[in-house]
C-alpha cells in the first residue's frame, strides 16, 4: 500500500506541471497591458510609474522567464500580490478562504454518500417498483435543475416565506454574543441550505450509479450461491452485493470533486459565503489576474487531491488494484 501511494504521488508531478502551464497560458492570453488593470486604465499614470509596476510584477521579462519565475515562487507557495487595492499576497487571500470551501464540500460529500446509498440500494432491490420510478424522476430533475435556481427557490421558501433559515452569510449579526453551542447552531443554520442544495447533483449521480451497479451484481452467480447457502436476503444484499457495488462508487465520489468545487462559485456567491468560490468570482469580476491564476491552480489541485484520495481508497478496498499497478 505504501509503495502504491508513493508511485501514485510521483505520477502527480507531471500533471501538476501541466496544470501550471495551462493556468499560466490561459492568464497570458489577456490582450493589452496588465499594468492598465492595476492602474484602472488611469491615463495620467506616468511612464516611469508604469515601468516600475511592470518591473514589480516581472512583466518586463520574456514570457518563458516569467513562467519560470512564477513556477519557482509557486514551489515556495508564493502566488504573488493581488492587483486589488489592498495589494495583499494572493496566498493569504486563498488560505483564509480555503477552510470554508473545504468544509462546505466535505459536508456535501458526506450528505451525498449518506443519502445516495439507501436511495440507490432500495431502487435496485425493488427495480421497477414505485420507489424506483419515483427516484428515477427525482434523479432526472436534479440533473436538469440549475443549482442556483433551486437555491433561489429555497431562499424564498425557507428564508422569506417560512423564515426558518437565514439566506446569506455564515453567521448572524449577534454571533459574537452567543454561547459556544449557540455559535455552532448558528453556523449550522447558515450552512444547511447551501450544503444540501450543492449536494443534489452528486446525490442524483451517485444513487443512479449505485443502482445500475447493484442491478449488475444482483444477477451474478455468487449471489445465487449465497442464497443457496441459506443466508437471509438481508445478509445477501448488504454483505455480498452492496460491498461489491460500493467499491466503484469511491472513484465516482472522487470524480465529483471538480463539480463541487466549481459549483462553490455559484453557491458561495448566492449565499454570500466568504469561501474560495466567492473570492474567485470577485477576482474574475475585478480582473485581479494573480488571484484568478492562483484560484485556477488551487481548484485543479483540489481536484487532483480528490482523485488521489479516491484512488487510494479504491486500492485500500480492492487488493486487485493495488497489485495490478506493479505487474
Amino acid at each position: 500500500m505504501l509503495r502504491y501511494t508513493a508511485t501514485r504521488l510521483l505520477m502527480m508531478i507531471p500533471t501538476l506541471l501541466g496544470i501550471t502551464v495551462i493556468s499560466f497560458t490561459v492568464m497570458h492570453l489577456a490582450p493589452g497591458d496588465p499594468v492598465n488593470y492595476i492602474l484602472d486604465a488611469n491615463p495620467k499614470a506616468s511612464q516611469t510609474a508604469r515601468a516600475r509596476l511592470r518591473e514589480l510584477y516581472g512583466l518586463d521579462k520574456p514570457i518563458h522567464v516569467q513562467y519560470w519565475n512564477w513556477l519557482k515562487s509557486l514551489a515556495r507557495f508564493d502566488l504573488g500580490l493581488s492587483f486589488a487595492p489592498d495589494r495583499r499576497p494572493v496566498r493569504d487571500k486563498i488560505v483564509e478562504r480555503l477552510p470554508v470551501t473545504l468544509a462546505l464540500n466535505v459536508f456535501s460529500l458526506a450528505i451525498i454518500l449518506a443519502l445516495s446509498l439507501p436511495l440507490g440500494l432500495v431502487a435496485a432491490v425493488r427495480a421497477g417498483g414505485l420507489f424506483d420510478r419515483g427516484s428515477t424522476v427525482f434523479v432526472f430533475v436534479c440533473f436538469a435543475a440549475p443549482s442556483f435556481w433551486i437555491a433561489l427557490l429555497g431562499m424564498y421558501l425557507f428564508g422569506v416565506r417560512l423564515g426558518w433559515l437565514p439566506i446569506s452569510g455564515l453567521t448572524s449579526l449577534d454571533h459574537g454574543s452567543m454561547t459556544e453551542f449557540g455559535k455552532l447552531c448558528d453556523l449550522a443554520r447558515h450552512l444547511a441550505m447551501p450544503v444540501l442544495i450543492s449536494s443534489l447533483g452528486g446525490l442524483a449521480g451517485i444513487s443512479r450509479y449505485l443502482r445500475s451497479n447493484m442491478l449488475e451484481i444482483i444477477r451474478q452467480d455468487f449471489l445465487t450461491t449465497a442464497r443457496a447457502k441459506g443466508l437471509s436476503e438481508r445478509t445477501v444484499i448488504v454483505k455480498h452485493a452492496l460491498r461489491n457495488a460500493l467499491i466503484p462508487v469511491i472513484t465516482i465520489l472522487g470524480l465529483s470533486v471538480p463539480g463541487l468545487v466549481g459549483g462553490s462559485v455559484i453557491m458561495e456567491s448566492i449565499y454570500a459565503i466568504p469561501g474560495l468560490g466567492q473570492l474567485f468570482y470577485a477576482s474574475v469580476m475585478g480582473r485581479d489576474y494573480p488571484v484568478v491564476m492562483g484560484g485556477l491552480v488551487m481548484g485543479a489541485v483540489l481536484t487532483l487531491a480528490g482523485n488521489l484520495l479516491a484512488d487510494l481508497g479504491y486500492a485500500a478496498a480492492d487488493p486487485r488494484v493495488r497489485d495490478a499497478a506493479f505487474k
Binding site: 500533471t15 433561489l152 455559484i266 456567491s269
Partner: protein, 282 residues
C-alpha cells in the same frame, strides 16, 4: 437503420416527449417575433412588478414593467444558440483530436490524451470563468469558452472507436486502394463512430444550456438587455421578497429544456445500442 432508431425512440415514451418538447422549443424561438405578446425590451414603469395573471401579462412583469412571458420566449433563442454552437465547437474539436489520437496512435495519441487528462483536472467552472475574465463576457465568448472546455468526452469516445475501427477489413481495403489518412478517417471511419458522438452531443447541449444560464446568472454571460433565462433569475434574486414569479418561471424554463435534451439523449443512447435493438420484438 435510421427507421429502426426512430421506432425505438418512439416506443420510449419519455424520449419521445423530450424530442417533442425540443422541437416545440425550436418552433417557439423561431416564431418568437410572431408569438411573443409584447416587445421583450419594452419598459413600462406604470406596470412594474405585476403578478402573474394581470391582464395582458400572463406571467407577470419585472421591475421595469417588461413582460415576463415575452422575455422567456425570446430567451429561448439564446439558450438554443448557445447550446448548439458551443456543442458544435466542442464536437468538432473532439472529433479532430480524437481522430488524430485514435488513428495515428503513438506520440500523437500520448500528447492528446495527456492534454485531455489535464483539462479534466480543472473544475470547468473555474476555467470558464478565468477565460471569461480575460475575454469580456458576450454571447460569442460564452459559446467559444463552453466549447473549448467541453470537448474531452467526445475526443475519448472517438479515439476508442477509431482504434478498433482502423484495423477492420473495410478500413484496410480503403487504405490498400490508396486512400489517404484524411479520407479514410472522414469517409470510412468517422461515420461508423457517429452514434455515441450524437448521444454525447445531445446531452452536451443540455450541459451547455445549464452552463450558459449559470454564467448569465453570475453576470458573466450574455449581457443585458438581451433577455436570457439566467439573467432573468439574477433579477429574481434581487426581488425575491416582492416578486416570486421572477424567480420561478425562468428556472422552470431551464429545467424543462435541459430535462428534454437529457431524456432525448438517453433515449438515443438506448436506440443506438444494438443490444437493445435486437431485444425488441420485430
Amino acid at each position: 437503420m435510421l427507421r429502426e432508431i426512430f421506432q425505438v425512440l418512439w416506443r420510449n415514451r419519455l424520449a419521445a416527449a423530450g424530442g417533442a418538447i425540443v422541437l416545440t422549443l425550436f418552433a417557439v424561438s423561431w416564431l418568437a417575433p410572431a408569438i411573443s405578446p409584447h416587445d421583450p425590451d419594452k419598459v413600462d414603469i406604470r406596470a412594474r412588478l405585476k403578478p402573474p395573471g394581470t391582464a395582458g401579462h400572463a406571467l407577470g412583469t419585472d421591475s421595469l414593467g417588461r413582460d415576463v412571458l415575452s422575455r422567456l420566449i425570446w430567451g429561448s433563442r439564446v439558450s438554443l444558440k448557445v447550446g448548439f454552437v458551443a456543442v458544435g465547437i466542442a464536437t468538432l474539436i473532439g472529433l479532430g483530436l480524437g481522430a488524430l489520437a485514435g488513428y495515428h496512435g503513438g506520440l500523437a495519441d500520448g500528447i492528446v490524451m495527456r492534454f485531455c487528462d489535464l483539462m479534466l483536472c480543472f473544475p470547468s467552472m473555474f476555467l470558464i470563468l478565468a477565460v471569461i475574465a480575460i475575454l469580456e463576457p458576450s454571447i460569442w465568448n460564452v459559446m467559444i469558452v463552453i466549447g473549448l472546455t467541453g470537448w474531452m468526452g467526445v475526443a475519448r469516445l472517438v479515439r476508442a472507436d477509431l482504434m478498433s475501427l482502423k484495423n477492420r477489413d473495410f478500413a484496410l481495403a480503403a487504405r490498400a486502394m490508396g486512400a489517404g489518412a484524411m479520407r479514410v478517417i472522414a469517409v470510412h471511419l468517422l461515420p461508423n463512430a457517429m452514434g455515441p458522438v450524437l448521444v454525447t452531443a445531445t446531452l452536451g447541449v443540455a450541459g451547455a444550456i445549464l452552463t450558459e444560464s449559470s454564467l448569465s446568472f453570475l453576470g458573466l454571460g450574455v449581457q443585458p438587455p438581451t433577455p436570457t433565462w439566467g439573467s432573468m433569475l439574477t433579477e429574481g434574486k434581487d426581488y425575491l421578497r416582492q416578486a416570486w414569479w421572477l424567480s420561478l418561471y425562468p428556472g422552470l424554463a431551464i429545467l424543462v429544456t435541459v430535462l428534454s435534451y437529457n431524456l432525448l439523449g438517453e433515449g438515443l443512447r438506448e436506440a443506438l445500442d444494438p443490444h437493445n435493438r435486437r431485444a425488441q420484438p420485430r
